[in-house]
């Protein structure tokens, strides 16, 4: 009996320690749902914490009665004390029906309130609307304000301004999820879904596709840069402009532009003033992005070259073909792409 008690005590301590561990650690766990950075995420986390506390109370009640029943208020076969013959007890039965019912009500009220609060029918006043189009396996962002920026896989938003994402899919069902900024919302072909939230803390937040969308579902990630309104305005301004002409000194990049212009790249990719493809991501300001290939790799010349050489190696199933560019041609093209700041 004593051994059992010490086992349970240490188990309880372990669980508590583990629970605490789960709540902290925003740094080590950049995708965690607990350190919230928006109103939407905060509402959910408050609800989550409330339910967790109530759940733990119920779990404790079950465990305590369970342990009492097995170790204290029963005997073993062979023990001469005969078993109890009780087959029902109305008071007990009413208690374990009513108390859970009350707990359920305590959870339901804030739940329903949060449901309605987090899904406003119309975009809030003064909100920044962004059209998010999901593709297998990358994200396309179009700003619906006066700037009409179109970019891919890296979303920039200001703090303090309500954000209204209009989610649409180009192919199959995806799900838009930035854990620190709130819950996910499926991106369904033929259905205009939306997500509304206001980010509160500047920073770089990771996002990912959360609905299985085919072979490279795991490789459909993205980043959200939450910036102060000033920083955001500056970014928007830089993005609005077409990429600057390449200085003659950068021969590699200039050569690379020719490679690009004369390659099948142009059928799929847009570079403002150069090409008008629409199947793949917009590359106008590719060099200004920190990541590439659906947010799975750092944007550096080595990775870009590797990607162009064999995209399928990096992202299995990807629609972009290997173009067979090698040597100087490849290096020039990479230099050109990286110059698109």
């Amino acid at each position: 009996m004593k051994r059992a008690r010490s086992i349970f005590a240490s188990a309880a301590i372990f669980v508590l320690a583990a629970l605490l561990q789960g709540c902290g650690g925003g740094e080590q766990h950049p995708l965690n749902t607990i350190t919230t950075k928006s109103d939407f995420a905060r509402w959910i986390t408050n609800l989550f914490v409330e339910i967790t506390v109530l759940d733990l109370l119920v779990l404790a009640a079950v465990l305590i009665t369970f342990i009492l029943a097995i170790f204290f208020f029963s005997t073993r076969v062979g023990n001469p004390a005969p078993p109890s013959t009780t087959t029902s007890d109305l008071r007990v039965e009413i208690a374990y029906t009513l108390i859970p019912a009350l707990i359920i009500i305590a959870i339901l009220v804030p739940t329903v309130r949060t449901i309605f609060r987090s899904q406003p029918y119309l975009p809030p006043k003064g909100s920044l609307q962004i059209e998010v189009v999901a593709h297998q396996w990358w994200w396309d962002f179009s700003y619906m304000d006066s700037s009409h920026i179109n970019t891919a896989n890296e979303l920039h938003i200001p703090t303090g301004v309500p954000i209204r994402l209009n989610l649409e899919s180009n192919d199959v069902i995806h799900s838009f999820w930035v854990p620190q900024l709130g819950g996910k919302r499926d991106v369904v072909p033929g259905q205009a879904n939306e997500l509304t939230f206001t980010a509160s803390v500047p920073g770089e937040y990771l996002g990912e596709c959360a609905e299985f969308c085919g072979e490279s579902h795991a490789n459909m990630r993205f980043r959200v840069f939450v910036q102060t309104p000033e920083q955001f305005a500056a970014w928007e301004k830089a993005q609005e402009a077409p990429p600057g002409t390449i200085p003659a000194s950068e021969t590699a990049a200039a050569e690379g532009q020719k490679v690009f212009e004369n390659s099948p790249c142009t059928t799929c990719h847009t570079i403002s003033g150069v090409s008008k493809g629409y199947i793949g991501p917009n590359l106008t300001h590719f060099g200004s992005r920190t990541t590439m290939a659906g947010g799975i790799e750092q944007n550096d010349p080595h990775n870009v070259a590797e990607w162009i050489t064999d995209p399928n190696q990096v992202k299995p199933g990807v629609y972009m073909p290997a173009l067979g560019l090698r040597g100087t041609q490849l290096n020039d093209l990479v230099a050109y792409l990286e110059s698109l700041k």
């Binding site: 339910i51 079950v62 076969v77 109890s84 039965e93 359920i104 739940t111 085919g214 795991a218």
Partner: protein, 825 residues
């Protein structure tokens, strides 16, 4: 009457003995069918487990390249599909219910033994087919949930999704047949004196389970049918570009899928409710509450499917409604958990492995239930759904809840099934390793989910803080795998050289412990009469508790009472083995594989042979020791209703849901239709005529029944011919109508209206065609000798089916034709 069922020798014969391989292949004994299910499912359990281990190895470290993305997707698809459809359901329904339920209700077999065998062979066809797609380019790889439109040909061009779709349809047929069979068995074949409130909790759980199967599976069938049409015939049931929506699949799938969770969970509640009282040596606490809570769970489970879809954007009203219904389920579930604990409270515990697993299930399932409450809160679910938090949750429910109960059931009922005891020592080892492995694998997933790790990813990036827990989980998963290896060793050792089991090793309370281990072929030598709940307990101890107290003090398990060991008073007719279930399933396999790989010749041969076999199975009937011959004795609760008729009515109830899904799709999609001619193409005058023909055919049908009830066979033939003729007129008009529409440019692929119209009306037409064939076969058999009044039931059965098709048409005629002008709904 060449082959009469032969009376059995008086000495009880162990059901496992005799017959050889042919005996097993042609068996219709519920216990043998159960063993076939059990062996198959335990084998597939090993495969499903290995698939899980492959996934765990791939997730060992970030950016791992052990297996490809493609292979990983195949693994999680096959793991989910296998565990749910090929392991848990067949273990629960096929193995334990098949074996134990007839014994617990004091029956000699299930209501339709040949149908039971047919269910198994069809299940086997589905299971084999699901894996065979590997030969034609890979396993299914779109998840067990197969969300449209990813499963459409454009995004999944391979044959593997076709295999998945058709295998699931076939498994659905098998499960539906099983459900009808068990439903009729439990409603009608309970022993004398066994009222509903004296039924064992396990049987109660199974009764509600099979009702859920009957009402939920048709929705899946319809969803799969749409997918099949999309992939084979180019319709667009889930393609947004034509105005349809892939969300329809999710609604149909989860309309089936959430009841399915309770189809898996309720039997495990039943199993725990059997094990806990036996090993606590106490009656179950709060039996009536337990029964009501099972019914309530079953009822509510039909209205909560939307909680799988909170993230799809159903809108706040639907979100709130589904959140409320989902949370309400927690109340009856809580009642169950506390009642089990209250049963243990004050007991005299027999600490055997089966009891260990049952007790562990109570705790593990509670954890799964509590995290379920989190998902029921729609906003919280938005953070948790499709993350590892949900993986943790449903493994606590399906492994901690269901698999633990099944492990308990294996240790509890194995002596009854094989007549051999399992090793307790190995059992306890397995128990502790399972506990460590299971909790170690799945509990940390709560954190992974909270830290944002999504499900179904074949790899993950470095620096996200997920690596450590993933490695810990992989290690624990191997411990878990090892614990199952111990179980297999235990099962094999026990079968090979286990200790012989007595009839009643655990001091059981229910009737299966009143027969020898393993039970005789006919289960009970003489009809059983039941005097109360815990029927066998009352038999061996009587009322009052005096004998109970005395035996308890002596520490003995009383022997099986004399009257249960008495030799049969009358000759017993056990059902004759039949080769047709196996043959029909074999033909079904040919048809399916022919359809899938486009080998039309094999499909034709299979289809033709299948038709012959079905006719053969029907003609076999008169020679065959069916239950209904001594209805009062075999089915004391039948109220004089023939079991086959009850089975047909059950099937018709299930068909209602099938047609409701089709009709609902028609109404919804009609409102989204654009382009194409639309509903205005329909012609009411023409269809009014065919409606008239169908209504009149129903009159002819009842007149045929009236004639045969009067013994006038010739008149019956006349009216049957009239019925068939009018049925053919109806079909002819339909064909004419379809041809006209084709000429006006409305094909199945034209628009949403076209595909829904042809599917709905066409499916009804197929039902009419089956009816005409059935009528024809009755007409043909009426020329055999001995066709007289006694065959009125055959005519009544085909009549019921015919009238049902007629009333479905009444609904279609009104909703589709007469309301054609109504825009949307």
């Amino acid at each position: 009457m060449a082959a009469q069922p032969k009376p059995l020798p008086l000495e009880p014969r162990n059901y496992l003995k005799g017959g050889g391989l042919i005996g097993w292949l042609t068996t219709v004994d519920h216990k043998r069918v159960a063993v076939l299910y059990g062996v198959t499912a335990l084998f597939l359990l090993g495969i499903g487990g290995l698939e899980a281990l492959v996934m765990r190895l791939q997730l060992w470290e970030p950016n791992n390249h052990l297996i490809s993305a493609h292979f990983y997707n195949e693994m999680f698809t096959m793991h989910g599909t296998t565990m749910i459809f090929l392991v848990l359901m067949p273990l629960e329904l096929g193995f334990f219910t098949n074996f134990v339920m007839p014994l617990q209700i004091g029956a000699r077999d299930v209501a339709f033994p040949r149908l039971n065998a047919l269910s198994f062979w069809i299940f086997l066809v589905g299971a084999v087919l699901m894996h065979l797609s590997w030969i034609w380019g890979g396993f299914p790889n779109r998840g067990w949930f197969g969300y449209a439109n990813l499963t459409e040909s454009y995004y999944s061009p391979g044959l593997n999704i076709d295999f998945w779709d058709i295998s699931l349809l076939i498994l659905g047929v098998s499960t539906l047949l099983t459900a009808i069979n068990f439903f009729v068995t439990m409603v009608m074949m309970r022993a004398k004196g066994m009222s509903y409130m004296r039924m064992t909790l396990f049987c109660w759980a199974m009764l509600v389970t099979v009702i859920l199967v009957l009402l939920a599976f048709p929705a899946l069938t319809v969803g799969l049918l749409f997918l099949l049409l999309d992939r084979f015939f180019g319709t667009h049931f889930y393609i947004a570009a034509y105005g349809a929506t892939p969300i329809l699949w999710q609604h149909l799938f989860w309309l089936f899928g959430h009841p399915e969770v309770y189809i898996l969970a309720l039997p495990s509640f039943g199993i725990i409710s059997e094990i806990v009282p036996v090993f606590s040596r106490k009656p179950l606490f709060g039996y009536p509450m337990m029964v009501y809570s099972i019914i309530l769970i079953g009822f509510l489970s039909y209205g909560v499917w939307g909680h799988h879809m909170f993230a799809t954007g159903m809108g706040p009203v639907a979100d709130s409604a589904f959140a409320i219904t989902s949370m309400l389920i927690a109340i009856p579930t809580g009642i169950k958990i506390f009642s089990w604990i209250a049963t243990v409270w004050g007991g005299s515990l027999r600490m055997k492995t089966a009891f260990y697993f049952a007790l562990a299930m109570i705790v593990e399932f509670t954890i799964g239930g509590l995290s379920g409450i989190m998902h029921a809160s729609a906003p919280v679910d938005l953070q948790q759904t499709d993350s590892y938090f949900v993986v943790a949750h449903f493994h606590y429910v399906l492994f901690g809840g269901v698999m633990f109960a099944l492990l308990g059931a294996i240790y509890y009922w194995w002596p009854k099934v094989t007549g051999k005891m399992l090793s307790e020592k190995l059992g306890k080892w397995q128990f502790w390793l399972t506990i460590i492995g299971f909790n170690g694998t799945f509990f940390p997933m709560h954190w992974l989910g909270t830290w944002g790790m999504p499900r179904r990813v074949y790899t993950y990036g470095a620096g996200l803080g997920w690596t450590g827990l993933n490695q810990f989980e992989t290690v624990c998963a191997f411990i878990l795998g090892f614990s199952f290896l111990l179980m297999y060793i235990n099962l094999v050792l026990s079968t090979a050289r286990g200790e012989d089991a007595p009839a009643d090793p655990w001091d059981g309370r229910t009737l299966e412990w009143a027969v020898s281990s393993p039970p005789p072929e006919y289960n009970f030598a003489n009809p059983v009469e039941v005097e109360g709940r815990d029927a066998y307990w009352l038999m061996k101890y009587g009322r009052g508790g005096a004998r109970e107290a005395q035996m308890f003090a002596e520490g003995k398990i009383p022997p099986v009472p004399q009257n249960m060991q008495a030799p049969p008073e009358k000759p017993i007719h056990v059902p004759t083995p039949s080769i047709f279930p196996l043959l029909i399933a074999g033909c079904l396999f040919m048809v399916a594989i022919g359809l899938l790989i486009g080998w039309w010749r094999i499909m034709e041969i299979g289809g033709g042979t299948m038709f012959i076999c079905i006719v053969g199975m029907c003609l076999e009937y008169p020679k065959w020791g069916e239950k209904s011959h001594n209805l009062d004795e075999e089915a004391p609760h039948s109220l004089g209703i023939d079991l086959r008729k009850a089975g047909l009515w059950t099937f018709l109830g299930s068909e209602c849901v099938f047609f409701a899904s089709l009709i609902a799709t028609y109404v919804v999609y009609k409102s989204r239709n654009f382009g194409g001619p639309g509903a205005s193409i329909l012609e009411i005058p023409l269809t009014s005529g065919s409606t008239f023909a169908l209504l009149m055919s129903s009159l002819m049908m009842v007149l045929a029944l009236h004639s045969i009830e009067q013994g006038r066979v010739k008149w019956m033939r006349f009216w049957l011919v009239c019925t068939m003729a009018l049925g053919c007129v109806f079909l002819g008009v339909e064909a004419f109508e379809f041809l006209g529409f084709f000429q006006k440019g409305l094909a199945m692929q034209t628009d949403l209206f076209g595909q829904c119209f042809y599917t709905l009306v066409g499916t009804h037409g197929v039902h009419v065609t089956i009816g005409v064939i059935w009528l024809g076969s009755i007409l043909a058999s009426s020329f055999r000798k001995n066709f007289g009044k006694s065959k009125a039931l055959s005519v009544e059965m085909v009549g019921l089916y015919w009238h049902f098709v007629d009333i479905v048409w009444v609904v279609i005629f009104t909703l589709v034709y007469l309301m054609q002008q109504v825009k949307g709904a």
